[in-house]
Symmetry: C2
Subunit: 229 residues, 2 copies
DNA sequence: GGGCGTGTCAAACATCTGTTTGAAATAGGT
DNA sequence: ACCTATTTCAAACAGATGTTTGACACGCCC
């Protein structure tokens, strides 16, 4: 199974008739399967079965599995970003923005349904990287990272590029990603976990409070350090 | 590729001559490859090449790939647990114990070298579960989880089984696991990351301080809540 | 109706992966 | 040296997976 490098037949050009059927069904099915299984474990047979199309359709419409994977990312990015925006307003208050960030970030990972597929695709790609990772870092992750750094920096009172802000942002994101990426384990050591939207929001709220408490204290500590000097 | 359920030839019984060669070389190679690649992506061909043995040797000595995987876990558990102990002493101070936990947990994920393979095997199994997960949860993860809960509970001043302790423990672990599991992304959005033992300890120390600050604050909040009532 | 382009299909193909097989080599004991 | 058990080996095998192929169907335009 070669993921890249081999010259491929060009995927069929987009055509008005295309958007009414097979191609879209494949994208939908692939979005769901890739988000749940990741690139490697997802099979074209499962995607085609789910989409009720012939197995050669992926090659006809997308060229190959890898290009389908790439298309899935761009196809679902918009919905995911709109539904779960992560933004920073320099004129706004830092704490509510961090809370909003936690809520949206957690939702994009744990929410049931289609808009969360993008978030889950990203999360999977993070733990099982494919050759597409570099593109995704450039187009999505790095800009998001910069935004998160700003949110965190505003709360901890350090420049966004500082080591303090970076470490805090790492700690913040890790808490939420853990709840998605290691869910199989969490559910086993903590039986009875629920994943309703309300419970997911409670998770997000806790991460926000835990982290805000830490950021406040670290902000205080940095201030005392500056005064002492 | 069937990971389980098929009746398998019994692996060769252990024999004095065994421990001097092929079998051990396979275990070493497999420990390294499984820790780096996970079960699914690791191939018996790579393991055998690394161990300089014939490809049929895995089946002869271990039965099949999956049994080898299981053996690798038990084989490396002892070294990992000894090198990176996670324990709780009820008579000891809570904060130094949490710091020690962070240090050892982070080291078991990020340290170079063999003793960290067990930790990395566990981390990989968490994000890409195999049918072995239930066994590992029972033999290793759940006991560890209970210990971590105790450490956290002592710091936050709540019972180990409480929701507060559980959420805090989740937040604590997530920070460290993120640094290992999503390392490919971290290295791309934060170029220049170093993974020397010293730098790893600095990471651990930061997670400890971040989390202790949060725990102190949450402890205070819980106390004020109790008083108010 | 014919020609051309597009889309679909079943079968075949190519590759990879884990496993099996039977012969040969090796090790250990008498 | 001989016998038996164990170990190793190369080749073959079986199954899974992604891709290709060529025929056919369909739609559109002249």
């Amino acid at each position: 199974m070669k993921t890249a490098a081999k010259p491929r037949r060009r995927a069929a050009p987009r055509h008005p008739a295309h958007d009414a059927g097979t191609r879209d069904r494949i994208l939908e099915a692939a979005g769901e399967v890739f988000a749940a299984e990741g690139f490697r474990r997802a099979t074209v047979r499962e995607i085609c079965a789910r989409a009720k199309v012939n197995i050669a359709a992926i090659n006809y419409h997308f060229g190959d599995k890898y290009e389908l994977y790439r298309e899935v990312f761009s196809h679902f990015a918009r919905a995911g970003i709109e539904q779960y925006p992560v933004t920073f307003d320099p004129g706004g208050k830092p704490e509510p923005q961090l809370r909003a960030f936690c809520r949206n970030f957690t939702r994009r990972l744990l929410d049931p349904g289609r808009p969360a597929w993008h978030g889950r695709l990203i999360a999977r790609e993070m733990v099982e990287p494919t050759p597409l990772l570099d593109e995704i870092v450039k187009s999505f992750m790095r800009p998001q990272w910069e935004t998160i750094l700003r949110i965190v920096a505003a709360n901890v009172g350090a420049p966004p590029g500082s080591e303090l802000a970076r470490r805090c942002a790492t700690s913040l994101i890790g808490q939420m990603l853990f709840q998605h990426n290691c869910r199989a384990v969490i559910d086993r050591v903590q039986p009875g976990q629920e994943y309703t939207p309300e419970e997911n929001d409670r998770r997000a709220a806790f991460v926000a409070e835990f982290s805000l408490a830490a950021l406040r204290a670290l902000r205080g500590a940095a201030k005392r350090k500056a005064v002492a000097r």
